[in-house]
Symmetry: C2
Subunit: 203 residues, 2 copies
Amino acid sequence: MSKKAAPDPSRRSETARRAILTAALDLVGEVGYAKLSIEGIAAAAGVGKQTIYRWWPSKGALLFDAFLTLAGEGDDGQSAALPDTGDLAADLKLVLRATVEELNDPRYDQPMRALHTEIVHDPALAADYAKRLDEPMRELKKERLRSARDAGQLAADVDLDVAVDLLFGPVLNRWLQRTGPLTAEYADQVVDTALRGLRPREP
Amino acid sequence: MSKKAAPDPSRRSETARRAILTAALDLVGEVGYAKLSIEGIAAAAGVGKQTIYRWWPSKGALLFDAFLTLAGEGDDGQSAALPDTGDLAADLKLVLRATVEELNDPRYDQPMRALHTEIVHDPALAADYAKRLDEPMRELKKERLRSARDAGQLAADVDLDVAVDLLFGPVLNRWLQRTGPLTAEYADQVVDTALRGLRPREP
């Protein structure tokens, strides 16, 4: 037991990594994505530019990791299953209302817009996003819908991927395009309309 | 009747305007939005930078006008009503399949991605987009759904705005996020699922 232990290199680099991710999120919120630079992030995080370039190939990739960290912290790093109380509409409304609240929170809004911009233009990042974020989330949503289908609450031949798109897409669209107010009421309407379907019941 | 008529200034400036819009669309397809510059567009169109700045406040606003022109040329400058053969599903599939084809066309893909990026980050442009493009298109879609509702093909209390979001949002999302293949079959599935609704018929 030496009095003066050498700093643990893996802990030190984890500290630097977290400082960089936090700086990236803070900065993108302040200056926007277009003006976000690796230099600026390095300065804010107190590391050299080369440290960042060693770990991330682009500011898009760095921001994506920062965003995954932010999303992970929100739910204690667990990818949580959707609630399943047996009431499908209520469970979906709970989830979509939480999404609306998150999208209306400035802490999420700016980095998520920046991330979506990169996804639109960068096919490699889009593939990474699809694999690391969209697919795991989509699987949790489908799991909840599968359970509803098993309980006879969804038609047996519903395509679960299309169902996920119908239930979760409209809120994302309205947020991205700003085509209308993003409210809890809108989330409820989407759930009710998607679940009830647009056609009147068969006689 | 002089032999050498003075050039008509309004025609000359219309020629310049169209040259600028065409140059903007060509250039954004070549270099992408981030590298698109007013200087580059001016050079390609054979006009001075000041001519462009006199007419448009930003490259986003210019690209938006260029995109409106492109969209307008596709349908002879008319905002066409949706087809109404009486078969709602068939009519919607026709429209959504055409949208899929357009989004898969490189001539539209790059400028539309650039436009959507700007909309995501620029609230003023988003408001302009909502007013000049989304709302008129949405009105045409609602008109078709209203006719179906009057014919008893949709439930009387369906919210038409939410119905439009469910029917037309998923294709746009899949294109923007590249979360899956954008095919005619997907368009058909979205229409069938949205129209049939997710719940089994009441007994």
